[in-house]
Every structure is written in structure tokens, then in C-alpha cells.
């Protein structure tokens, strides 16, 4: 995909310290440098507590850095920039709304959903294999289906960048692989830049164009791996020596 011009997101010497309630400070991130090119699929991987989620909050403008800079389209992020979609481990659907109304929630923040918005929501749902479930109550769906709805909700406003925080971590292995496929198809269809946070080596290697490995706290980037196999990738890719070599290379960095 295109990587021309200024990066979509850029972090320069990014650092973040938290002050806890008993006045103790701890450092979540230290001197983090990276950039996200438009259209790429970038994954951050690392042990738990390495500040991955903090990184996501910085990218979405929910918190500001303690040191260094984080830029969106070349400008310092202050407050959530427009054009960001988010998905989490918990699909966080609202149980009193049906599927299509859950997808439309981000639209409702800016305007009353039009029939065009509804059509768009239906199309998105159809493209993740949920045709016919538009009117279902969200709690009637399986975990994988709920996560598909969550992805549609994240994409309903045509974000430039989709931020995902361990979106498949709570799913069983088969469902997870299914959703890898769904995500790849979505990417072909909507050409959205995607940033994934995960602690799953297979997932990172299978989905990403580029992987940044983070260290334990204070988190910083210790390794970069570029996966050049063309996307979308077939499931068989996970059995190739190339795939396994990537996984092993990343694992070594995480363990040390």
C-alpha cells in the first residue's frame, strides 16, 4: 500500500509517566520512536504491562505525552483527532440495542443516522458475514459475531486509522483465525490504516506488514520486523518456514 508523504502517525522520543494515587510515579513508556504510514498494518507486540495500551491512548489523543511528541498528519495530537476507529478485547456492545443500532452508535454522536447510514451499516455487517443479523439483540450473538459487530462499529465513520487493542484475545483459536480472515477482507475493501496491539505472535505475524516489539516497563521499541508476504494472506501462510522464522525471531526478542 502507499507509503508516500508524511506518516499518518509519528512518535518522537515519546515518554509517559503516571503518578499513582500514593504519589509514586512510574514510567510506562520511555523514548518511543515510530511512525505509521498511511495504509499499512502495524502491530505492537510485547509482554503484558509493557505500555501497549498506553501507546494506544496516546495515539487516540485520550492522554498527552509526558515527554517527546506524538503527531497525527504532522501536527501534535491534542485531544482525539478525527478519523479514528477503535476496537477492544471486549466488544462492548450495548445490550439494549440491536446489532445495527450498535453499529450506528458513533454516527449518533455527530448526527441523527440517515437511511444512508443505515444502508452503510447493513453493508458493513454483510461484509463481515452478519447479513440477516441486523435486528438481532447483541446478546444473542456468539463472541466472534459480537467482535465482528464491534469492528463494524469502529469502521462506520470511515476512519483513516483503526486502532485495535487485543481485539481477538478473548476468542477461541478457530474463531480467532476466522476473524483474521474477516479483518484482512475488510482491509482490502476499505483500505484503512490499521494498528493492532496484541501479545499473540501468530496473530501479529499473520496480519501485519510491520511489527514493533516492545520491552517490559518502561516500554520502548526493541525490535522491528517487516513481513513482506503480500496481503491478504491465506491460512496456509502460517505453516510456511518464512512465517515460522518471523515468529521465532520475535519470540526471542520478547523473552530477552
Amino acid at each position: 500500500m502507499s507509503t508516500d508523504g508524511t506518516p499518518l502517525v509519528e512518535a518522537r522520543h515519546l515518554g509517559l509517566r503516571y503518578v499513582s494515587e500514593d504519589k509514586e510515579t512510574f514510567e510506562a513508556l520511555r523514548d518511543v520512536n515510530y511512525s505509521v504510514a498511511a495504509g499499512e498494518f502495524l502491530t505492537f507486540i510485547g509482554p503484558s504491562g509493557c505500555g501497549k495500551t498506553t501507546l494506544l491512548k496516546l495515539m487516540s489523543g485520550l492522554i498527552g505525552p509526558s515527554s517527546g511528541r506524538i503527531l497525527f498528519r504532522g501536527k501534535d495530537i491534542s485531544g482525539p483527532p478525527p478519523g479514528i476507529g477503535m476496537a477492544f478485547q471486549d466488544p462492548l456492545l450495548l445490550p439494549w440495542r440491536n446489532v445495527v443500532d450498535n453499529v450506528l452508535l458513533p454516527i449518533e454522536i455527530v448526527r441523527r443516522p440517515t437511511s444512508k447510514d443505515r444502508d452503510k451499516a447493513r453493508n458493513l455487517l454483510a461484509s463481515v458475514g452478519l447479513k440477516g443479523f441486523e435486528r438481532s439483540a447483541s446478546w444473542q450473538l456468539s463472541g466472534g459475531m459480537r467482535q465482528r459487530v464491534s469492528l463494524c462499529r469502529a469502521l462506520i465513520r470511515d476512519p483513516e486509522i483503526l486502532l485495535m487493542d487485543e481485539p481477538f484475545a478473548a476468542l477461541d483459536a478457530f474463531t480467532r483465525e476466522e476473524l483474521w480472515g474477516v479483518l484482512q477482507e475488510l482491509r482490502v475493501k476499505i483500505q484503512c490504516t490499521m494498528v493492532l496491539i496484541t501479545h499473540q505472535l501468530n496473530e501479529a505475524t499473520f496480519l501485519s506488514d510491520r511489527i514493533l516489539v516492545m520491552s517490559r516497563r518502561p516500554g520502548h521499541i526493541i525490535y522491528e520486523d517487516i513481513i513482506s508476504a503480500p496481503s491478504p494472506r491465506p491460512n496456509e501462510y502460517t505453516y510456511t518456514p518464512e512465517f515460522i522464522a518471523h515468529v521465532n525471531a520475535i519470540r526471542r526478542r520478547i523473552e530477552h
Binding site: 482525539p80 471486549d90 462492548l92 450495548l94 439494549w96 452508535l105 458513533p106 465513520r157
Partner: protein, 252 residues
């Protein structure tokens, strides 16, 4: 609904068995009427004073309803305010907790000084008892907004008000309706105690008059009506709760 019917039948059978045991025990041990009347005597007393009792019943039901509606509205408003505003939470929540720890019946003499003997003291006492559970539940409901959902909506450009409207208030509704079950009981207690202390009508008043004249069948009659009324209030709100937020009961 079929399941409800079975549960209802089971409780009726259990109640009938208990009443039979009671009747038998009173007859076998020849307990005097002014200590413990048998159920048959209670039924007779109920039949004999039915017209008067129905008037007192109406008084108690009306007072309880007024208390409950007032407590529900004030509790919902206060709960939303405390759940929404951190300042209101800091200011009001500890005070409300302290208030709740007081026995509300202790306020009745003060209300009598303010408003005189009549419906006002008992209605206020009932509303005061019912108010607190509503507030606590609404606040708890509002605080169940998941932090990630909050983040997602913030990133979508939502204001705090929008997040509360779209997520917080709907999410607090099952808590609110659940609290009405407790609040219904509270209003009822406040009204009956108020009638016992400072009123010329209502089932609480009947209970006091009956016991002071050692008319135990009548005392037990009003107690029985109170029991049935209490059960009715509880069950009615259970139904309302399920109808109002069916999505919160999906596992049944």
C-alpha cells in the same frame, strides 16, 4: 409466565400448610385468643370488619404510593446528579450515607411537629426510607460504564452528556427498577409505622388500636393484610423490572 404460575402454586401450598399447622397447634395447646388467635378467628375478624378494613387498606396503599412515587422521582434525579457530577458526588454522597444510617421513624415526631397528625408525616417517612436505595442504585448503574467504551465514545467526539445519555442512563435503568422493589418495601414500612405513631387511619393505625384493646384476631388480620400487601408490592415491581429492561434478564 408458566414458570411463575408454578412458583406461585408452590408458595400457596406452603402457606396453606403453615396455616394448618398453626390452627392445629392453637387448638391442641388451647392457646387463649388474646395471645395467639387461630387463622380461623383471623378470617372471621377480617370478614366482620371488612368494610372498615378496606377503607384503611386504601389509606395505606395511597400513602405508600405517594411516598414511592416521590422517592423514585427524587431518587432518580439525585442519583443522576451524583453519578454525573464529581462535585455533587463529593458533596452529597457521604451526607446521604449518613442520612440513611439514621432510623427514619425517628423523624416522624419531628414531622408531626411540622405538619401535624395526618398523612404528611407517614408519607414523608416512607419517602425518606425509599429514597436512599434508589439513589445508590442509580449511581451504581451510572458507574458501570466501561472505561474502554468511555474512551471509544470520547474518541468519536462524544461529550460527557452524550455518553451519559447514550450509555449511562440506559445502563442505570435496570438498577433503578431493581431499587424500586426495595423502595416499595421502604415506603410501605414508613407509612405503616407513621400510621402507628401519628395518624387516625390506615392499617398501622388499626394494628395499634387492636393491640391496645387486646383484639388479637383484628391485630393479626391487619398484619396479614400488611403481609399480603408487602408481597404484592415486591412481586409487582419484579414484573415491572423485567418488562422495563428485558435485556438485563437475558439469562433466564
Amino acid at each position: 409466565m408458566r414458570k411463575t404460575t408454578i412458583v406461585l402454586l408452590e408458595s400457596v401450598v406452603a402457606l396453606l400448610l403453615a396455616l394448618m399447622l398453626w390452627e392445629l397447634a392453637v387448638r391442641i395447646f388451647q392457646v387463649p385468643l388474646f395471645i395467639l388467635p387461630p387463622p380461623s378467628a383471623v378470617v372471621q375478624a377480617a370478614y366482620a370488619s371488612a368494610p372498615a378494613l378496606s377503607k384503611h387498606l386504601a389509606t395505606t396503599v395511597l400513602g405508600t404510593s405517594v411516598s414511592l412515587v416521590a422517592a423514585a422521582l427524587a431518587g432518580l434525579a439525585t442519583g443522576l446528579l451524583v453519578g454525573y457530577s464529581q462535585a455533587a458526588s463529593r458533596l452529597l454522597y457521604p451526607l446521604l450515607g449518613g442520612l440513611h444510617a439514621l432510623p427514619m421513624s425517628a423523624f416522624i415526631p419531628i414531622f408531626v411537629v411540622w405538619f401535624g397528625i395526618g398523612p404528611m408525616p407517614k408519607i414523608l417517612a416512607g419517602a425518606l426510607i425509599a429514597f436512599f436505595p434508589v439513589v445508590v442504585n442509580v449511581v451504581t448503574g451510572l458507574r458501570t460504564i466501561e472505561p474502554e467504551l468511555w474512551d471509544m465514545l470520547k474518541v468519536s467526539g462524544a461529550t460527557k452528556g452524550q455518553i451519559y445519555r447514550k450509555v449511562g442512563i440506559p445502563r442505570a435503568m435496570p438498577y433503578f427498577f431493581a431499587s424500586l422493589k426495595v423502595a416499595g418495601g421502604g415506603s410501605f414500612i414508613g407509612n405503616v409505622v407513621g400510621e402507628m405513631i401519628a395518624s387516625g387511619s390506615g392499617l398501622g393505625y388499626v394494628l395499634i388500636i387492636a393491640t391496645t384493646s387486646l383484639d388479637m384476631p383484628l391485630a393479626f388480620t391487619s398484619l396479614t393484610i400488611l403481609l399480603i400487601l408487602g408481597m404484592f408490592i415486591f412481586m409487582a415491581f419484579e414484573v415491572i423490572e423485567r418488562k422495563a429492561a428485558p435485556w438485563a434478564f437475558r439469562h433466564n
